[in-house]
Point group: C2
Chain length 174, copies 2
């Protein structure tokens, strides 16, 4: 069991062990992302990103949604037109500031998101159930260490830490 210290050349010429990790990680990413394909016929990628963003914030106004999607408000407004027409999102007027919207998921929109998550959970569980218990333990430990390291890097850069890894990952695969 090699125990070398952190090398100074980050990102270049990683130890052989690292590239193996990179290769093996693909299976996890593939299983994680496969659930999205089943919904490809229902909503587009951008629409799903919007749904996930709204769900994550519970409620959000148009400007923040646009910012989260990296778009201008007018584009987001049109996107919401389509999502509203599809019965997935509801626009309601904000009480405190009547200029703003309060975007929220309809029951239909919420169940779409939940189905996606359940699908992913089932896909992952299917693979986990095939793993030897020791493998699951190792995976858990390894992923916790990875998430911890990613968090510390994230904090160091920290611009707007309002997003956690789960929501970032969810939207990336939208």
């Amino acid at each position: 069991m090699k125990d070398e210290p952190v090398p100074p050349f980050i990102g270049h010429l990683p130890p052989t062990e690292w590239s193996v990790i990179e290769r093996e990680a693909a299976a996890l990413v593939a299983v994680w992302g496969r659930s999205r394909q089943a919904f490809a016929t229902k909503v587009s990628s951008v629409q799903l990103q919007a749904l996930l963003t709204i769900e994550q914030h519970e409620t959000i106004n148009l400007g923040r949604l646009a910012a989260a999607l990296g778009a201008v408000p007018s584009s987001a407004s049109r996107l919401c037109d389509r999502l509203e027409a599809a019965g997935l999102v509801r626009r309601s007027h904000c009480e405190e500031d009547k200029r703003e919207l309060t975007l929220s998921l309809t029951p239909s929109g919420r169940s779409l998101v939940e189905e996606l998550q359940q699908r992913r959970r089932a896909d992952l569980a299917r693979v986990l159930s095939e793993m030897p218990p020791a493998g699951r333990i190792a995976l858990l430990r390894g992923l916790q260490a990875f998430a911890g390291a990613a968090d510390s890097i994230m904090e160091r850069q920290a611009e707007e830490p309002e997003d956690d890894w789960t929501s970032i990952a969810a939207r990336l695969l939208a």
Copy 2:
């Protein structure tokens, strides 16, 4: 260290440990997928999928590319028009069957794909370098077990096993 046997209820009510794995996996997926965002301005999602599919097959004809993208040939043809205009893909005539095309990446297209992969490698290495060595070892073991389990499930379903996890994962995040 729990060592329970594989439960019969696959996909439902997973052991607590499993849902922890699911939560922690998000960080890995997020880091893996982040590299794609840097290329969002250069090529669209579909275009990147096409580039990755061509690169994976080294050379491919239009019909197979269309099938891999889940589109009809005419859509794929238009897609190739744009990729060719962008200097990323080359159309050449097939020798054996002059009806077919031979699609391949131009040097420019190949370097775009390679940049993406290097970016991902660097992002992963950055996090891996922050992990305690024991965590890296655990991650490696766990991912290997996961990939093995995923492979065995894949083989059992096996329709067209021409894709490995790496390429599936790559295209999912395109």
